[in-house]
């Protein structure tokens, strides 16, 4: 090929490349890695974790309050009277709020984490929360029950989050 022909050929190749006609294309799906990385960072940024910590702190205060009331008003609390009932209603409402926050946090970000396995587990946890709540009305000064309720709240939030993580990993695979 002569020099002038090579020059013309080069100009033609540059023009083709600039127009996007002969651009190299990725050989694998790059989106999943990006989505996974952003999801991991959002989880790490832990906006919703602040809620969990706040709720744990509230629960500790609440349990402390109930214990205090139990010590000073044994007759009232022993029969599941309004203070314990109101406190339970407040804690359950707060937990529902956190639950909604976790779900909407992921769903508005475009993740659909529906998983039958996790849904069944969550269902069991929610049933346990109801049972423990009912029992707490009978035994409002039972520390172990309050701790169990706190554990169940946290477990449900962890499970809800895990379905997005599991789903994302499965998509990666």
């Amino acid at each position: 090929m002569s020099n002038s022909t090579a020059k013309q050929r080069l100009d033609q190749l540059i023009q083709e490349a600039a127009s996007g006609a002969s651009t190299p294309a990725p050989e694998r799906d790059l989106w999943r890695g990006i989505e996974h990385s952003l999801a991991r960072r959002q989880r790490r940024s832990g906006k919703w974790l602040n809620w969990v910590w706040a709720s744990a702190a509230c629960l500790v205060l609440a349990v402390g309050g109930v214990t205090f009331m139990g010590m000073h008003e044994p007759a009232a609390t022993a029969t599941g009277t309004p203070p314990a009932k109101a406190l339970l209603a407040y804690l359950n409402a707060q937990h529902e709020q956190q639950r909604e926050f976790v779900l909407t946090h992921y769903q508005t970000a475009g993740w659909n984490g529906e998983s039958d396995f996790v849904a069944a587990e969550v269902e069991q946890i929610r049933a346990s929360i109801q049972e423990v709540s009912a029992q707490l009305l009978e035994e409002p000064d039972n520390q172990a029950l309050w701790q169990l309720l706190q554990w169940l709240y946290n477990k449900e939030l962890e499970l809800l989050e895990s379905q997005f993580v599991v789903n994302d990993k499965l998509q990666q695979v």
């Binding site: 020059k7 080069l10 002969s22 651009t23 990725p26 694998r28 989106w31 990385s37």
Partner: protein, 185 residues
């Protein structure tokens, strides 16, 4: 005033709505932006990096950084133009970091430099892309940004932190080498 109105009317960015949604945290909108632009970004970073594995990683890095930077996009230029600037900056910055620890550059017989990157299988590449893989790194960056991406020499110089004269010299030398290699084929 009139000129300003005309400018705004004449400048319609097809990505504007998606960019706004993605900047507000909408991952589905961001996914659509990715679908629209990732091939062009991959093409650019592939040519800057010279191999496909690095280009895959860099493309992902560009979009991850883009997610953080969307809030700073003011719409003064088209999104695609801005994205290209982000992509070339991220790619060059990452390639420089990699180069610092690689440090296995050797001088080849023809006076050019070949680095230690494992080059891609060239069977599926266009003629020009096969040849620019053989250019030394900085010369390749200048050639890609000026000749293919259409940046002016002063823009290339500013982007790479080199003198305008160096940019011009690189383009001249790159063209000479590429013409020689084309003649040999």
């Amino acid at each position: 005033m009139t000129a300003q109105v005309i400018t705004h009317q004449a400048f319609e960015d097809p990505d504007q709505r998606l960019v706004r949604q993605a900047a507000n945290g909408d991952m589905a909108a961001f996914s659509q932006l990715f679908e629209r632009h990732h091939r062009k970004v991959y093409g650019l970073v592939w040519r800057l990096a010279g191999d496909s594995e690095t280009a895959h990683d860099l493309t992902q890095e560009v979009f991850i950084k883009l997610w953080d930077a969307l809030g700073s996009f003011r719409g003064e230029s088209k999104f695609s133009t801005w994205l290209h600037t982000v992509a070339s900056r991220v790619a060059i910055s990452e390639l420089r970091k990699q180069k610092r620890w690689r440090q296995n550059i050797t001088l080849t017989d023809d006076g050019s430099y070949a680095d230690g990157i494992t080059q891609s299988a060239s069977a599926d590449l266009g003629e020009l892309d096969r040849l620019i893989q053989r250019l030394p790194e900085q010369m390749r960056w200048v050639f890609v940004l000026h000749c293919i991406e259409g940046l002016r020499h002063d823009e290339v110089a500013s982007e790479l932190g080199i003198a305008v004269g160096t940019s011009k010299a690189h383009v001249h030398r790159a063209r000479t080498l590429l013409e020689e290699w084309l003649s040999d084929e």
